[in-house]
């Protein structure tokens, strides 16, 4: 341990270099990089499944894949994207990297548990992915009973165990973040000086900790149903399949907020940096994250409007669902108010931010359509739903993820990327995304159901548009892979604070030293203190 002093002043990317030093690291920054590489791989895999779906839907006939294969494609697309990309994406990469630094800590509270969470994630992910070679999975990512528990002849048990295991990685990350924010803040880092990214990841962690165990036990019950024939969800012995939906959505609706809340945190940071202003209504934005986390647990029944749930429960869930619009709108209004009369610089960061705000707003507003029971009866299980949640989860979360990855890339790697290519990528993603998913709102409204590999010929024009858009979208996603990797080798060395942003992470070198801070930081000012201070400094 005598070498600690030397190591402290070296970049976390530096010696030791070996693979072993990475696989057994307890440094939150290195674990973030491990997660970054893994979720990127799973994003590509999930994207390939999506490409299979879009290729099939180019023509009305089911000519490319059999319906069974198609079922497996959309199931694996959903499972991989939700559980192995979107849920860990921002918290486990940017969150892992930035949370300790932002609050002035040397590491998360439990570094070993942090590494364990990555291994648990990898084991769960590999088990789930192995399903592809074991006959696939055709239940849809929602594992609805009794199809999943009785009828399906695919590898449901294996997939359920894989997702069950991965759930614990999410729980461990959430637990670590909660304890870290409560117990590891630097002197002077009060709750209302926390960057909003920390607030939103804290709210996310609450959802992870309170919701994930429920989906874990639910999938365990499905596993037990299949292997031991218990009958808990089997109508033949008096079981209620809808109970599965209650338990599943108790987690899986809040899981939408696990995916989007960290994205909102990223945007809050970015919007202040591009506007060179403090975030308008800081406390409201902070509390809206908490409100979304809490309200998110009260609305799951809107997934059950047509599942023989009591309509009286449906009414309650419908009203509660609409309440989520309030904190979400607070965020959107406050971001735009922050940009208003801000010194907005039109570099690539701004493109991602504006793209996010636009797409998230469309996704959020269409959510209100679906929360309305009468409307939902018409739209349920159509492409309208598909379009809605892709606007939130892809238009929102993925846009924020890429924006955040670009914004903090110089900090994480110590290299600058090509800003013009980043702008191109942001524009391609925005155009490609809208071209892919906006037609799906129309398709859904016209009545095209989800999860079919064939459709009536009159829907072809919109489907061709959608597939064309997906191609553009794919290009937009592939482009950063090239210029970001190129930057690692040929990019200019990044200064400590290339964007002139506030926050503790910009006060330390890029890339940060292993122990983050050479001296324990003391915080004396609020977050986003962009206005130049004119006071005379005494002493």
């Amino acid at each position: 341990m005598s070498s600690n002093v030397d190591v402290a002043n070296h970049s976390y990317l530096g010696a030791p270099y070996g693979l072993k030093s990475w696989l057994f690291t307890k440094d939150h920054k290195r674990i973030a990089i491990l997660y970054l590489i893994s979720v990127t791989i799973f994003f590509v895999i999930g994207g390939l499944f999506a490409a299979g779906i879009r290729a099939e839907l180019l023509t009305p006939e089911g000519d490319l894949w059999s319906s069974d294969t198609y079922n497996k494609l959309f199931t694996m697309h959903g499972v991989v994207m939700v559980f192995f990309f979107l849920v860990p994406s921002i918290p486990a990469t940017l969150g892992n990297f930035l949370m300790p630094i932002m609050i002035g800590a040397k590491d998360l509270a439990f570094p070993r548990i942090n590494l364990l969470s990555w291994y648990v994630y990898i084991v769960g992910a590999l088990i789930t992915l192995s399903v592809v070679f074991m006959g696939g999975l055709d239940t849809g990512w929602t594992f609805y009973t009794p199809y999943s528990s009785i009828s399906s002849h695919t590898a449901v048990s294996l997939a359920a165990i894989g997702v069950f295991i991965t759930g614990f990685s999410s729980i461990l990350t959430g637990l670590n973040f909660i304890v870290t924010v409560h117990r590891m803040r630097a002197p002077g880092m009060t709750w209302f000086r926390l960057p909003l990214f920390v607030w939103s990841n804290y709210a996310t962690s609450l959802v992870m900790v309170l919701g994930t165990p429920v989906v874990a036990i639910t999938l365990l019950l499905v596993f037990a149903e299949r292997t031991l024939h218990l009958g808990i969800f089997d109508p033949a012995v008096g079981g209620d399949p809808v109970l599965f939906q209650h338990l599943f959505w108790f987690y899986s609706h809040p899981a939408v907020y696990i995916m989007v809340l960290p994205g909102m945190g990223v945007i809050s940071e970015l919007v202040a940096a591009i506007s060179r202003k403090s975030v308008f209504g800081y406390a409201f934005v902070a509390f809206s994250s908490m409100a979304i986390a809490v309200l998110g647990f009260l609305v799951w029944g809107h997934h059950l409007f047509v599942s023989s749930q009591s309509i009286y429960a449906g009414m309650v869930f419908s009203v509660l669902s609409m309440l989520v619009a309030i904190p979400s709108a607070v965020k959107v209004f406050n971001w735009t108010a922050t940009m208003y009369k801000g010194a907005v610089s039109w570099d690539s960061t701004t493109y991602w931010v504006v793209g996010f705000i636009g797409l998230f707003t469309i996704g959020g507003l269409t959510g209100l359509f679906l929360a309305t029971m009468g409307m939902d009866i018409h739209l349920t299980d159509t492409y309208f739903v598909i379009a809605h949640f892709h606007y939130i989860m892809v238009g929102g979360t993925l846009m924020a993820y890429l924006g955040g990855l670009h914004f903090w890339w110089p900090k994480m790697t110590g290299r600058m990327f090509n800003d013009n290519l980043a702008k191109t990528s942001a524009v391609l993603v925005f155009i490609g995304f809208n071209l892919t998913f906006f037609p799906q709102f129309v398709l859904g409204y016209l009545g095209m159901p989800r999860r079919y590999h064939a459709y009536p010929p009159e829907f072809q024009v919109l489907n061709v548009l959608s597939t064309a858009g997906a191609t553009v979208l794919g290009l937009g996603y592939a482009l950063p892979a090239f210029y970001l990797i190129y930057s690692l080798f040929k990019g200019a060395k990044a200064p400590a604070n290339p964007w002139g942003a506030t926050g503790l992470e910009w006060e330390i070198p890029s890339p940060p030293p292993t122990l983050n801070f050479e001296q324990d930081p003391v915080v004396t000012e609020p977050a986003y203190h962009y206005q130049p201070t004119r006071e005379v400094h005494v002493g």
Binding site: H182, F297, W300, S310, V316
Partner: protein
């Protein structure tokens, strides 16, 4: 260490131990009497009392920070959200008078 719990006298732990055993006997005894609809609430009341003294004394909840107490209560609160909103479905299904459920 200053931050840890103060040392609790053995007699406190013994008293809790005896109370838990008595509670167990009491819950079996109460279950043997026909109280109609009250059997389950009484059984749950005794269980809550037993669980509470385990948490407060054995798990040291009384010496922990306010934050830890909030965490413990939050767990129960979310459990009741799950119970309550699930039952809002099951308890109102028959209101429509639709045959079946």
């Amino acid at each position: 260490m200053s931050s840890a719990h103060p040392i609790t006298p053995v007699r406190v732990y013994l008293a809790v131990f005896v109370a838990l055993l008595v509670g167990t006997a009491l819950t079996v005894f109460a279950a043997s009497i026909d109280m109609g609809a009250m059997n389950t609430p009484v059984a749950l009341g005794i269980a809550v009392a037993k669980a509470s003294i385990v948490a407060i004394y054995f798990m040291g909840l009384r010496y922990t920070t306010p934050l830890t107490k909030v965490v413990a209560v939050a767990g129960l609160f979310w459990l009741f959200i799950m119970f309550g909103l699930s039952m809002s479905d099951y308890l109102t299904r028959s209101w429509m008078g639709v045959p079946g459920r």
